[in-house]
Amino acid sequence: MVSPFYLLGVGLGLGFLLGLTGKNSKKYTSAITFVAFAFFVFFSISWLIPFALKQVTETLIYTAGFLPPFSISLSVGFYEAVFSLMINSLGLLSILFLWKKINSESNALGGIILVLFMTLNMLVFARDIFNIFVWLEIAAISTSGIILLDKNKFSYSAGFKYLLASSIISSLYLIGVVLVYFTNGTLFLNDLITNASGVTMSVTAVFLMLIAIVLELKPFPANGWALDVYEGANPAIGAIMSGGVATASLFLLYKFSPLLDNKFSYLFVIAGLLTFVGSNLFGIKQDKANRLLGYSSIGQIGLLVAIIGFRPFLGDKFEFIAITILVSHFLAKAGLFWLSDVIKQDNIKNWSVLRRKPLLLVLFGIFVFSLIGLPPFPSFFGKWELIMMLSGGYKFAVVTIILVGSFIEAIYLFRWLGYAIKLDFSELPEYKFELNKIIPVVIFGALVLGAGYYAGNLICLKTLNYIPLAFIVLLYFIDSLPAYIKNTLSILALGYYSYLILPNLYETDMLRFIFAVIFLIGGIITLVAGYAYKGKRQGFYPVALLMYVGLALIIQAQTTLEFFFGWELMTAGSYFLIIRGKKSIEHGLSYILFSIGGAYAILAAFGLIYAETSDILLSSLSVATQNITLIFSLLAIGFMTKTASLGLHIWLPGAHAEAESDVSPMVSAILLKAGVFGLFILMIAMGHNPEAEQIGLILGWIGALTALVGNLAAAFQEDAKRLLAYSSISQLGYILFGLAMMTHLGWMSAMVYSINHFLYKSILFLTIGAVVLKVGTHDMYKMGGLIKNMPLAFIAVLIGIIALSGVPPLSGFAGKWLFYNAIIDKHWYFQGAIVFFSGIVAFLYLFKLIYSVFLGQLKDNLRKVKDISVWFAIPIYILIIGIMIISAKPELYLKPLGTMISGFYPNGELSWTGGLANAPYGYWNGSGVMITIGIMFSLLFLWLWSLSRKAQKVKQFNIVYAAEAPQRPETTHISYNIYAGYYKSIGWIVAPIFEKFWSTMTEWIHSVSDFGRRIYNGNGQYYMTHILIYMLAFYFILMH
């Protein structure tokens, strides 16, 4: 093993020599420094490999040939090697990134950076507490030097504040060191750990050292100086500070962590959690990119501090958790800071310029995802384990705090991502695409992906199939090919996947089979419409497939981890699908925030289950016996964010309405079923608990009210897709209602509704989407009379609305009929009445939809509109055939459903005599009714036709209208606000109370953020007092 002193020798020696070189050799500085860093990295790897292969154990290295504590010693072990590798690779890439800058400045800059990184390595290795002080000071001084990379008034004042703060902090540390020496007679950390003196002075001394290191890590709220530095310094320096200095300081904390007794654990936990939540909260209001990155960085480090404080609870998972979260943060934050320097935009709204180079946008997305902890990035696994272990230790309050903090972080990160994806950038200045600046970002992007894969394997996610993800990456690389090629590939991939899993599922698990069909076959059908799009359709296919992969993973999941993994992938994919739409920026944000909130509720619930069963199998849900109400509620809320139940629905209308024409059916007809599937899983596993009955009652009411409010709101929409979106809300309300009954018939109806909703909502959204593509507006009152131009679309919508309304003989009636029987069976009369009332309200919007678009007066500007694209018509008519089949022969699917549900609820099932279904209260012969009505309808039609086949077709305005022939279709087409009278009488039901509630919440959080962050008033003197107050506050709280 190479002695770390060679690293020191190379670093310092070269640093000293750089001072010797003259001005002429300036241009070689980068190259020299780069070579030095290459050595550093080489050293790190040469340490890491033997440790990773377990050939050697941790070794102490002495200076001057004397044993510690009498000489200074360094320690090299596996984690030291890991951290050193992280730090040095950051250094190497930083040099590459700053190549030109270093060459153009005096050679001092290269020397300072070299010394800084050498120092960071030493901080990792050093085991002597005074020596650590020296290196801390050197790190601080060299940092204050590189802050001045850009010499302007901002970096001067930031650097000065940094110096002020760090001088106070290091003084505190120094006092601590000296007192430790005075009381323990040693400066050797290992000595101190094994037998620290118990006298008060010694304890206080340790406290001082610890708090000083915590202060180095910029704890909230004593961190204004750090924020100012992040904002004022060059972003590349931010990368070094956030990735390098903070990483080394964190390792320092790790080294000291064996010193923690209970009291000090609290110190770390409180400081860390406070920072995690507080920093993220104050970041919400921030719109300057670098400062925001600073907030985020500080928050993440805070979380890590808390994790170190929790070391005793995390057991052997501690290192895994800490390193995955740290690595994600490290790679992502450095990458983001570098991106910030590449595009040179300080306002986050201007980050849309990233789209000039799609590669940069993808990298940005990767970094944001890995910061938030979405799969497949390492922090996902880290956070998962963290929550599981903390829950296992019954630290539920902490879990809540961590999830809240993560959520707050997601708010601003996703807002930022949304800006980058959506906002216009045509007015913004160009930026240079320098290869030396892009390569480091790309490398870190690739590393974070690789690390995710590695972490996933470590956590024994062997069953996890990475091939679909690899396929998505492949799709990304061929993104410049025409859309139809990618469309074909995607369909083939989904088809192949279906071929792989469907036959087996059909044999083993009917429930999963049905949902798999909805997800995968439904996916294929909706993808067919994609052929209608010309051009490349960049970015569409990877994200669409991401969603489908997530959905498929949910189906296949055996463990809660796999389930959550799939759930998050699906959320991510659908987020990108949704935000692709026009004007989708805010809807995308609210979608992802609700989804993430829901996902965290699910995560917390899984944690609770793990706490009790110490198992992550999905089946362990059913054996849980404690906290049932809480677990059940959390999971239900989590899934209900996806099904958009009342109160959690506000994201849906906009998200679905603004999405692209073929995306709307994907996210409405298919995606929402993921929530339904989740609820099924939940109730199958936990429905037997007595508590479930109580919650079921509440869920039933929520479902019923959702149905009512959704339908009423749909009736008052003028935008066709919004109308359908509200309709989806209410349909999902029915499903929730059916599920909540937890009886055979209730589940039958929920299942029937799920299948039917998939069919008719796909038809309606595809058709309306296709119409919108042709007419160029969503507003129904701007259409009208299109039946003559678009007969195909009209027929599709007609069948769709009849099926949706539940009018016999089409398939929707099956659900209504089952409902009646189920509610009487369950005694849920009032909820049931609300559901039926809302079912009738559906006629209002269904009529409005078909009438306003297809009937009435054709507008002048639409006279030449053609029928919908054949690529839309094909999937639509395939689905119509599906509806017709299950309408004519409902027993085809009702019987297998009944068999399946009998497995869960054997009582109250339907009995069949041929096509006649007998329920406890009623009976119904689906095919008989279909035949009767069919024959009668045909006869009557023939009769009327025989009587009036010679009827003369008249022109559009040939109507009896106050003895005038109207000339303008706009004035004659009654559509806008046609239910005004109805609104007057019961419009209060759809008053936007939930919208108001959530917007008030949002405003409130923002005001708190805006008020709170004023503590960072920019004055270095105040920052010094903050530091002292922080220290004293902890002292008096902990010690007294």
């Binding site: 005074f130 020296v134 000071e137 601080a140 001084i141 204050s144 030097g145 010499k151 302007n152 008034k153 901002f154 001067y156 004042s157 930031a158 650097g159 000065f160 504040k161 110096l163 002020l164 001088s167 106070i168 003084s171 120094l174 006092i175 060191v177 000296v178 007192l179 020496y181 005075f182 400066l187 204004g224 924020l227 100012d228 904002e231 004022g232 209001k285 921030q286 400062r291 962050r1013 004023r1014 960072y1016 008033n1017 920019g1018 004055n1019 270095g1020 003197q1021 010094m1024 007092t1025 002292l1028």
Partner: protein, 123 residues
């Protein structure tokens, strides 16, 4: 409690620290803040040295007269704080120098040394 020299030094060191802190927190001129921090540092250094004191002993330098190889164990004080304080002083010097240069540049950027004027970055 007897008053010994180390206690006086200790007290003096703490007083210096307090004075330095108060100055650093209350004065408005950047130069004065730097000087106050310097005083604070000095206080700490005094404190360090006083902690190495042993009653009635002398410096750990073998001069062959008072202190010899044989008796150094019994007559010399603890050498470690002295070594540490040396390092601390030098580091303090480096930081102070750096701060002063910063002050110079700050002055050049705004023609003032009032710390309140340098809060462009905030929130």
């Amino acid at each position: 409690m007897t008053i010994t020299i180390d206690k006086i030094a200790l007290f003096l060191g703490i007083v210096l620290m307090l004075i330095g802190l108060y100055g650093a927190f209350s004065l408005k001129s950047i130069i004065r803040i730097i000087l106050s921090l310097s005083i604070f540092d000095t206080g700490i250094n005094v404190l360090i040295v006083s902690l190495g004191y042993l009653k009635g002993r002398t410096a750990p330098i073998i001069d062959g007269d008072k202190v010899t190889v044989e008796n150094i164990f019994n007559v010399a004080i603890d050498p470690v704080p002295q070594a540490l304080v040396l390092t601390a002083i030098v580091i303090g010097f480096g930081v102070t120098a750096l701060m002063l240069v910063y002050a110079l540049k700050l002055y050049q950027s705004k023609k003032t040394l009032d710390i309140n004027q340098f809060s462009d970055l905030k929130w």
